[in-house]
Amino acid sequence: MFRVHHLIVKNQGFMDSQNNNPTSANKDVINTNPTITGAEIVIRCLNEEKVKFVFGYPGGAVLHIYDEIYKQNGFKHILVRHEQAAVHAADAYSRATGTVGVALVTSGPGATNAVTGIATAYMDSIPLVVISGQVPVPAIGLDAFQEVDMVGVTRPCVKHNFLVKDVKDIAATIKKAFYIAATGRPGPVVVDIPKDITAHLAEYIYPKTVEMRSYNPVLKGHSGQIKKAIKLLLEAKRPMIYTGGGLVLGDGSHELVKLARALNYPVTNTLMGLGGYPATDKQFVGMLGMHGSYEANMAMQNCDVLIAVGARFDDRVIGDPKDFLSKKRTIIHIDVDPSSISKRVKIDVPIVGHVQSVLSEMNELLAAENTSNDISAWWKQIDEWRGVKSMVYTNSDIVIKPQYVIEKLWEVTKGEAYVTSDVGQHQMWAAQYYKFDQPRRWINSGGLGTMGVGLPYAMGCQFADKNAQVACVTGEGSIQMNIQELSTCAQYGLPIKVIMLNNRYLGMVRQWQEFFYENRYSESYMDSLPDFVKLAESYGHVGMKITNPADVEGALKEAFAKKDKFVFMDFITDQDENVFPMIAAGKGLSEMVLKKDNKERHED
């Protein structure tokens, strides 16, 4: 405590001396506008960007900025309980709204706490601006109190980062940060600002536009390639449309639906892409990948022309590329990021461009073509695969089946809720059984697989849409990784509904141990769980414990009827349930294992 105090006094002294000696920069400028502090510049830039919420946590290095937050009345600052949650909440806010999420943290531990959030956003290409405090410039590199090389630490998990060393650069840097975060393939941008810089004075000039000779994201796709793609699609016998998170982030869903309907071709979405195509539509064959539906994976494996839209053929989607490439097919790939193309799988027709613009051009071409392609034989084959009913589970009237809870959640919320999830079995069940008909409603950590995102993600969604139904599907393991946010939810009166599928296990770990380690459940049992009902109540929330399958639907209805209450629902679920179908890590799409009830089945 003493040290912190001491440091602040020291910094204050430093700041004063700076104020007395205007920097040489100030002398150069012909002072037409009044000068303001770096901290005030930060605030004005954020308001200029029309930021509505800043998720953050104060500390020594950002005190000047917090003082300006106190004085302003533009954006609203949301005080979380841990910096990781600040970044996750900003991330979810971005996913739900399509705008850039903003987080603010202090130097050192504040900054390192934010790193998991930044890496999570990076893996899913979410546009964020994260402002971190830094020790004063003269102290950098001296192992000063609460110093960490934030630019160095975050370099591998940001789209770009900046260390601002001159107050005159703050505005232009923040402008660039928003521009870089939101354009091209989006991603998080860190702006690290030393404390003394936030006290220095400069004229406030916010640039209207950004020009960077080194950064020019492609927008329009190559029209020759687009024509080629349409031709291939129309000649296909077994076509398949495969879309990912890029379609959702690029707001291309509307155009994709138009294209798919015009062609009457089957569509699958990745875990990140759910909602990109309406799940209740008859052309939708379900999610694909490690826990995808039989029909989606079989259609992916056996198609002759595949169009991938904002999806990247990752290991959880196609498994082993060798197995995938053992079948011949022509692949068209639309992506805004050229490095996503031909990374794991060679692409025949690459189209680099913004998905929305490329798809709308395709739709125009297709309308002009005025032909159609009859693929009824292929649909017949797909319907046969559908007949396997890979998503069927056996319900019970004794113990609550997790899948059943999600099905009822979908019904009770009429499929319209924002559903956030943590990471584990519950995440897969949520993805499999909640049918998303709209993009930006399914919010999960697909790339990094970060346990603990669920609750802060729900906060971000609730801030994005204060009247919406927001459900956080979580496990008793994951929820405890950011459980402190129950307090934030109380402070801001967020009426989130937590749907906890409590199997008393790190279920996904247990499942792998059952399958691949002969039931040696090493450290996967979750002992000493709190009484979640009492815990929720201690924050002023409503707690519910549901143990009987017959009570599931009623409890959900009751919870969602409490429109202005945060409700924590502890569903005691079947401990032995596993996620099926499953493709083991490193195996291929043709090596899918179905549930025991479906009789095990491998395609040769």
């Binding site: 370099r155 591998p156 789209k159 000779r213 080194s214 050229p338 490095s339 031909s342 990374k343």
Partner: protein, 163 residues
């Protein structure tokens, strides 16, 4: 296959670490990397010597282009180019080595730039393989120390990397 990649990037703090970090994070191989400011002080030029299959090289070029600070990337192997590296070699110059060192240095068109009682320092420029050949050609036991700059590369004739 070995490739020489030339790139122009913003001459900003940390730019080099972004490139080096990219190579280590993605497991790409770096044989050498040289960087210095250009005649335009806002730009640095880097030459990276790397090796990999065509697919890996394609990814390297794409990933480099993706770095926000990188202005232009050129795979010199896509056309004709010249490659030069500088090496300083300190060799034993005792009576039994003296003549051989002088002779080898002449054959490889090197220069002796420092003479001490028992050693010569030889300066040699050329392609990486020429420098390798020199080290192969002289008696290994005579080598006291070597230092190499890594290759710099430039396209031939009209192949110009400029913004």
């Amino acid at each position: 296959m070995k490739h020489i990649i030339s790139l122009l990037m913003e001459n900003e703090a940390g730019a080099l670490s972004r490139v080096a970090g990219l190579f280590s994070a993605r497991g790409y191989n770096i044989e050498s990397l040289t960087v210095a400011v250009t005649e335009d002080p806002t730009l640095s030029r880097m030459t990276i010597v790397t090796a990999g299959s065509d697919e890996v090289i394609e990814q390297i070029i794409k990933q480099l282009n993706k770095l926000v600070d990188v202005v232009k990337v050129l795979d010199l192997n896509d056309g004709k180019y010249i490659e030069r590296e500088l090496m300083l070699v300190k060799v034993k110059a005792s009576t039994n080595f003296k003549d051989e060192m002088k002779r080898m240095c002449d054959i490889f068109r090197g220069r002796i730039i420092d003479v001490a009682d028992n050693s010569y320092t030889i300066e040699l420029t050329g392609s990486c393989s020429k420098l390798d050949a020199f080290l192969e050609a002289i008696d290994k036991t005579a080598i006291l120390e070597t230092v190499r700059t890594g290759a710099s590369g430039i396209g031939r004739g009209d192949r110009i990397l400029k913004i």
